[in-house]
Amino acid sequence: MTRFVLRRILAAVPIGLIVTLGVFALVFAMPGDPLRELAGDKPIPAAVMAAKRAQFHLDDPFVVQYLLSMKDIFTGNFGTTFAGADIASQLRLRIPVTLKLATMGLIIQWIAGLLFGLYAGFKRNGVVDRILLLATLFILAVPLLVVYFAAQYVFGVELKWLPVSGIAHGYPMSYLLPAVCIGLTGFAGLARLTRTSIVETANADFVKTARAKGLGEQRILWGHVLPNALLPMVTFMGVDVGGIFAGALLAESIFNLPGLGQFMFQAIKLKEGGVVVLLSTLAFVMFIAINLIVDIIYGAIDPRVRNV
């Protein structure tokens, strides 16, 4: 297992370099000048412009700028954004916010997805199954932006049950509404997959054999159906963890949570190549770690994949 983990980590290094280089190139290729964008229509004196460009190495060639960004990441010397924010203190502020939001969102998403999916799968064509089909279709069809603003208006403005935005009410109050929004909008996929996987496994020959041998329904469910149906769900949930940050990007912007998603949004808007690469590197490391964990869990569930 140690060799497997080491091999995966080593393989991630060149991929990481390609990914960060690609992201940096994309930001670099975005049109417009970030310093001018920040200033709007206000003129900037030539001396100030030159000093700022020199401070952020904006006149250096692309490769030099990329290497300087990577050096900053590896030396932990993050510097400031174009607007003057200290990046290290921004990360200290934002990482816990995103972790709290993502964890809460994922828990809601997984509990709702697994419970509804399992129930609907076992009681195929029942009331819950039909409601789930309709609900997931609805959730997948309505744009997230509409759901987020509608939830904000209903629970924050009209009913005043939860804060409209911000983190002033602390954890968990400030995070509930965005986390429920993320969880509910993300649960549809998992619920549908769980349902299908349960239905398929329940119809498999080995389940029929188990039933023919006279095993009880509970034992068939927990001992035969679930372990086999779990495999695709584990993969899906692994990808979910990576995807939750994409959801956080929108949720944090709308619910004004100072997390990494909001930071990424601002950084892209202001063409902050260094910040975008830093956040992409963080996301990439997370993604590799999650994939490793998923593979290990996979091995634990299904001994066949251990030596693949």
Partner: protein
């Protein structure tokens, strides 16, 4: 909304379970009987407070509470009144100005406020290598070039040993003189700009160490620590002895980058003052029937003619374009806007309601003028800013008017704002673009110099007319304010005749406010939450 509530029943149930109970708490009312208000700013949280390195609106709003300017505009009369200054006196050529400070003022750390604080703070800002945003202001002062040696494009500025503007001289503890490179009759008005605020000695020694704990000289000081990304809480400072102190005992600035979310916070009752975003222009009066105010903004919006493109050179063609635009319809589309009939904002001394001869909509006359001007070859390209939600909409509105009223072929190009500016600066932009300008100090000159002087730093059209430059210089050298305005009005006439910019509309700003406050609305200073009256 009932339908949405029904649809979200599951969410609602879950939220109920998770929260246990809702308290519906609001934080807008503050504590005790003190007069406090929460002002929502639809902007990213500030990273530092330093008015000398800040020319964006959110930072300036906070700085307005914490720093006091030398002079200010009286909201009732529009006249300039002294705040920290005791007198501001030009010599007879308007080139050397003597500024005398009032005695007895100090910073919030107890340090007395002296002439040296201004001189040293201004020198710090004027030094190009510090890259502070308000550096450009000092370009009028003698000795600016020595602190900002010309640097080739792409080169790193060389450090300079010169650290002081030769034009600044201390006379005594409370008096200093400013010698300008050329006479400038409006200099006194520019002193109300907060980008000239003084910093105390301890801050000047290490500005970075104080970027999150500023020491001001204004009516409010920081109340407690200001954490990264958090609200900025201010409390009244007893040491402020200047005029025009606001009523509130405590002010909280809350930063909410998404303007619609900020608006929702207001509707939920958690903030007392919020800007109405463009998406709510049609609904804000019904959302807060008793709690909205609107005021003219000093910003004017124009269509910029590319002076480098020969096809647009003929003034008759420009007049034709201008007269083909139905400004009333355009202003209705923009919402809360007034059609422009000149280049100056209506709140400025010297504004004339009928300044523009070619700003009235007349399709037939426009067509005749276009024919007299030799017509236009090829399609008219209208560039719009893709980062503006309404850029394309307004471009198409103008394009349709030119197409229908002049029979021209029109095409559109969307680009991010800074790319448009860059292309225009390199004289490579193809066609028309939108431009806007708001004054830094309330003078007719602050519209004319930046936008129409050959070397103007906001001369988006790259327009140049030596006669206009000469007249502008005459106005700048005229010590009599009324006579100077007459000269500036002649400058406006030339600019309207040549028409490098076609005036479009002046936008009004709308705001919502809670029942406990009444924001100050002034023709001269706009809508100010800071100066709210408490009920």
């Amino acid at each position: 909304m009932r339908r949405v509530t029904g649809v979200l029943g599951v969410t609602l149930g879950l939220a109920l379970v998770l929260t246990g109970c809702g308290d519906g708490k609001t934080s807008g009312s503050g504590s005790g009987g003190a007069k406090s208000e929460v002002i929502a700013l639809a902007a990213d949280p500030l990273d530092f407070i330093n008015p000398l390195n800040e020319n964006g609106s959110p930072g300036i709003q906070v700085a307005q509470a914490m720093f006091a300017p030398l002079v200010a505009t009286d909201p009732n009369t529009g006249k300039v009144v002294n705040v920290m200054a005791d007198s501001v006196t030009p010599d007879k050529t308007s080139q050397t100005w003597t500024i005398k400070l009032k005695a007895g003022n100090s910073f919030q750390n107890g340090q007395p406020l002296t002439a040296k604080d201004y001189i040293d703070s201004w020198n710090l800002t004027a030094e190009g290598a510090n890259a502070w945003d308000n550096n450009g202001f000092f370009s009028k002062v003698e000795g600016y070039e020595a602190l900002n040696p010309p640097t080739a494009e792409g080169a790193t500025p060389k450090p300079t040993s010169v650290k002081a503007l030769s034009g600044l001289k201390q006379v005594d503890d409370l008096t200093f003189t400013v010698k300008l490179k050329v006479p400038f009759s409006q200099f006194g008005l520019t002193l109300q700009y907060l980008g000239l605020a003084p910093l105390p000695e301890e801050v000047r020694k290490d500005p970075d160490a104080y970027k999150r704990k500023p020491i001001g000289n204004g009516p409010y000081k920081l109340d407690g620590d200001w954490s990264n990304g958090g609200d900025i809480k201010l409390a009244k400072w007893d040491g402020y002895k200047g005029p025009n102190a606001p009523e509130a005992d405590a002010i909280t600035f809350r930063f909410i980058p998404n303007a619609d979310t900020a608006y929702n916070e207001f509707l939920a009752g958690t903030v007392d003052f919020v800007d109405v975003p463009a998406t709510k222009i049609k609904t804000f009066k019904t959302d807060a029937p008793d709690g909205w105010v609107a005021g003219e903004s000093s910003g004017a919006n124009y269509l910029v003619m590319p002076d480098w493109d020969q096809r647009f050179k003929n003034p008759k063609l420009r007049h034709a374009f201008s007269m083909a635009i139905d400004r009333k319809a355009l202003a209705d589309l923009v919402g809360l806007a007034t059609p422009s009939n000149g280049l100056i904002s209506p709140d400025i001394n010297g504004f004339r309601a009928d300044a523009c001869k070619y700003c009235n909509f007349d399709a037939a006359a426009a067509k005749t003028l276009l024919a007299e001007g030799g017509g236009f070859s090829g399609p008219v390209n209208i560039n719009y800013n893709t980062t503006s939600a309404t850029g394309q909409l307004f471009a198409e509105a103008i394009g349709n008017m030119l197409r229908q009223n002049l029979g021209l072929e029109v095409k559109y190009t969307g680009k991010v704002g800074s790319e448009l500016t860059e292309l225009a600066q390199q004289r490579k932009l193809d066609g028309l673009r939108f431009g806007g300008w708001g004054h830094d100090y309330p003078s007719i000159e602050d519209y004319l110099t930046p936008m129409f002087k050959t070397t103007g730093d906001a001369n988006f059209a790259h327009y140049s007319n030596p006669a206009l430059d000469a007249l502008l210089a005459k106005g700048d050298a005229e010590p009599n304010p009324e006579a100077a305005i007459k000269l500036y009005q002649q400058v406006e006439d030339i600019a309207l005749e040549d028409m490098p910019l076609i005036p479009l509309y002046a936008k009004q700003n709308a705001y919502l406010h809670s029942a406990k406050i009444e924001p100050r609305v002034s023709k001269y200073t706009g809508v100010q939450a800071l100066y709210s009256t408490f009920k």
